[in-house]
Amino acid sequence: MEDYPEEMRSPPVSLVAVAGCPELHQAISAHLHSLQPPINTLALPDLSKISLLIAPNPKDDQSSNPDPVASSGSAGILKRDWLLKHRTKIPAVVAAFFSSDCVSGDPAQWLQLCSDLDNLKAVIRARNIILVLVVVHSHSKDDITEDRMLALRKRAEIDSKLGSIFAELANTYYRDEGRRIKTRIEKKSFSSIELHVRYCFKVAVYAEFRRDWVEAIRFYEDAYHTVREMIGTSTRLPAIQRLVEIKTVAEQVHFKISTLLLHGGKIVEAITWFRQHNASYRKLTGAPEAIFLHWEWMSRQFLVFAELLETSSAAIQSISSLIAGTTERSLTEWEFRPANYYQLAAHYLKEKRSSLEITVSISETLNESDSSADSVVPSVYVGQFARLIEQGDAFLMHPLTDDEYIHYAIAEGKRFQDSFEIIALLKRSYESFSNLEVQRMGALCGFQMAREYYVVGDFTNAKQLFDGVANLYRQEGWVTLLWEVLGYLRECSRKQDQMKNFIEYSLELAALPVLSDIGVQCSRIECGPAGPASIEQKELIHREVFGFIGGELGLTSVTTSTDLKVTGDNQLYLEIDLVSPLRVVLLASVAFHEQIIKPGSSTSITLSLLSHLPLTFEVDQLEVQFNQSACNFIVVNSQRALLDTANDDQWSHRVETAPSLSLSNRWLRLTYDIKPDQSGKLECISVIAKMGPHFTICCRAESPASMGDLPLWKFEDRVDAYPTKDPALAFTGQKATQVEEPDPQVDLNLGASGPAFVGESFVIPVTVASRGHAVHFGELKINLVDVRGDGLFSPRETEPISLDSHHVQLLGMSGPEGEDESNQGVDKIKKIQDSFGLVSVPFLNCGESWSCKLEIKWHRPKPVMLYVSLGYSPDSHDSTAQKVNIHKSLQIEGKTAILISHHFMLPFRQDPLLPSIIKPVPDSDQVATLPLNETSILIVSAKNCSDVPLHLISISVEAEDDNIRKSCSVQNSGDHLDPALLVPGEEFKRVFSVVPKTNVSRLNLGNACIRWRRDSGTEEQSGLAASLVLTKERIPHVNLELSPVVVSLECPPYAILGDPFTYYIKFHNQTQLLQELKLSLADAQSFVMSGSHDDTIYVLPKSEQILGYKLVPLASGMQQLPRFTVTSVRYSAAFQPSSGESTLFVFPSKPHFNTVDVEGKRIESLAAE
């Protein structure tokens, strides 16, 4: 598209000229240009210049007055410069500027001006250009600033007016011009068809000036058709040039049309139009010697249209919707793709190239006269050429004969390197195709590109492209296409003397399943370097390749004329894996006859080989490789005396001999025994075929069961057979088998005893006893797994008892008893984690045994699975050897042994009034409340809930920090207790008196700690079995409260039937306030009592009031004293001592024994209940 002149490519813009007052031009033109639509300005310093610009040229005047001289009209169709002229030289409007002072100046100036105007008019009228006169006022030059302002203002307004004025004037001009010519067309007042075209063209152009696209298109089309008509009729020029001219014009007009259509968004129309264009000219090849011109022209058509389409299709909406829009489906979407047109452009360019070559070859004789071509130049008419002949200083155009023209054209044609042009085109289409993921069309372009590269000898590029294409064709199994491509690839690598690639491509080629009938066809094709795709050709290639392989032939390289061979110093080694295209060349399937085999016992393995090369060929030796290299073996072809090869590893591997190893498209099946000594997976990795001294193919082994199909194409010259004769093996056969490990000859025992208790570190003895096997590199793996599945530890553990969050924990392991584990055990322990352990076992000879102890600690009661596995290798020499494994597991229950509970009691017969208790605040939590500074009692009890007797060492309450210890005193009443034996189910209590001192709202007493140990019978051996266990339980904090009133009751420890005693109720007011208390005393049937039953007492602040009552017991035994209820008015709270407190033992008669003692006991027992 670039080779079109600018004026063709862009829509024309109206042109006006301004003359005079040069100082204004700059501003004006800028302004006009900024208008919408813009106007170009032609600026002339003074009027006189304009005549130079538009030299009235009589010959050029046929536009103004119908020209009598038809010859000029018929000399050509379109003038080359006409459009340009109208866009750049001939203004639609001329604006003459005069400054006012020269209007009202001295007559001399005036006269000058008039004359200027006159000859300006003269010039302009010829072209009926519109004249505008502008008089610029500018005032006396005194006061500059003001003058400036004025000037500015005026200029401004002038401009603004000017703009619109110019615009419409220009419009009218173009319209009138257009109309004038149109009328001529309508009344057919033109002498020749050329003129018809020309007029249409002009009208169209004028219309474009006016942005009247519809009319423009109409007339362009008119022009186009008329041109088409000329082909038969016109006789003006010699035939070839005539055609050239017509085509060129047609091209231009068509270009105009499609541009307009596309810019108007009329894609479909544009394309249909192009189709017609293409259809109507494709056949017009013209004279044979000039045919290359035609192809060139065609190519250009496509190229240009492609570019137009590309630029505009960015703007248009999605193609698919467009197609949906098209009613008749004749328009397929591919015609919307620029890529399509690029490709075709390339195609025609190729045509051009070849035909040009032919023409050149024919016309070699004329070469010497080529110089004559130099002087040929484009003539005034579009698509015409003439020889420029120099006569003195004047040049004159001399028309050409066709021969001359052809010379010229050929000379021109030679100057271009078409190949690169073609590649460029293809690349564009290739890229846009691949952008659209239209892979196959892309592939085609790629292929053509590659071929071009190949032609120009750029093999690297060619190879790369070919490879890409080849992949697609392989993948979709397009044999013939693949054949072609491979042929090129083969040549490329030959040219680049890459032996390996060359061999590979050749082999693939030879193995391709070309269908005989296609082969026949291809013999008709001008076929690529691969030659015709036929059986014979395949065999040819096959032989050639094996020639190379054998080292007889050499690859005569282009670069160094020395031909490189497959020899000792450059061995050739091919790999064939599951995806390699060479699978068709060699396919190795390997099947073990058994899935599982015992160690040391032998099994048989069948390896089946298949090749689709056209000729059967012998393999010298096969090497079968396994993951256990000990099993590798070699099969030697007995027919081939093996050369020096492979002797290096003879000694290590066993060697079988086969009568013959000839590969063909029937399975070659070989079955051998194999005797693995190592346990574990035994897999056949690959089969390596050696052919000739220096050539090997390594073929990945495949299981018949999971053998992927060969490439898509089928080789119909054989019924597909199974790799193994035994169909069962064919369906299930695997290239790998499992060799069982020798069964262990070592015992692993877990001596577990009973349930474990939370808190204690539980000991599990583990014994490794060898019988038969020596244990080398022994290793114990220990695993703790929660039986219930919920993890062994909870990350968000809060209670302080188990600070580490583990419920069950592998503490450690200690070496065999006897040796103390502290130093011995530690270094044996490789790793101990909370639930995992790895321990190395020392070397053990047969019969020896070794044992250790595992310590596991439970923080929570839960059952746990203990897995212990021993891995060892029975033989000493290598630690890497397959190990034997023994697994043992054991479930252990973790129980809580000691259950701790506690509760508080107030002091005996003393009742602090604690309002918060008496009338509890609704939202108060259920924590105990203790009176401040009073002695309360805490009872901690430990219950043995295990099923073994436990030794209780101590019960204590341990505060967590000192300030608590200060804030309240906790000491156990009575002295330290000696270890008690708790039989299962028994409970043990301990009493503590608690006296809170400092006034804190809530008091943290700390933990109740119980130290105990299992009762390990009478004799205490030093084992860890009876280690101390500390069980803690946190005592929930208690509220403290200062009780305003404390009521206590006093009476003798016991009474005697019949004799009276006094019974005091003591009220102690601990507040600064007067306390009014109401007391009501209930009768008790076992006592007679004196004194008032109901009473109101006032207790002074910080003082004490005592009421006394005389009582006479009427019955003996434990008797209920009269219950009383105290109600504090101030706190409107009543309270009552517990019935337990208000009982008294009545002896029938006076006893004789130590009272203190009794009392102590009584207290004990009372406290205990």
Partner: protein, 129 residues
């Protein structure tokens, strides 16, 4: 006249391709057929664009090349038939008929117990010059 007919398998692999030109452009025809698969894919994958009726086996004109017209047909068994012809004004009905007959021939061919996907003998498809 018909210059080339092809049968393409569901993996876009050629099952049968036969060109009836003595001109030396068999390879070119192969290329054309192969490329036409792009259009088939396009049409089948978003069927709104495909033939007048949805899921019709006949796909109609795939694309015109410079000198050929390429028609497509897509069977229920994911097999594609491609027809390349030189006469530029063909009536769809003719093409349909051709494809129908061709399909029949194809079915008989694959009914051969020894038929291996790949080669096919549909000799009776030379009709309709």
């Amino acid at each position: 006249m018909i210059v080339c007919v092809a049968v393409v398998g569901h993996q876009n692999n050629p099952l049968y391709i036969e060109s009836f030109t003595d001109a030396d452009d068999a390879l070119k025809l192969h290329h054309i057929v192969h490329c036409s698969l792009d259009v088939v894919d396009e049409q089948v994958n978003n069927p709104k664009k495909s033939g007048p009726t949805l899921n019709e086996t006949f796909l109609g004109l795939l694309y015109p090349t410079e000198n050929y017209k390429v028609y497509g047909y897509f069977t229920n068994t994911k097999v594609k038939f491609i027809l390349v012809t030189t006469d530029l004004d063909v009536r769809d009905t003719d093409v349909r008929n051709f494809f129908r007959r061709f399909h029949a021939a194809y079915v008989d061919a694959v009914s051969n117990p020894f038929h291996v996907p790949g080669k096919k003998i549909t000799s009776k498809t030379f009709e309709k010059g």
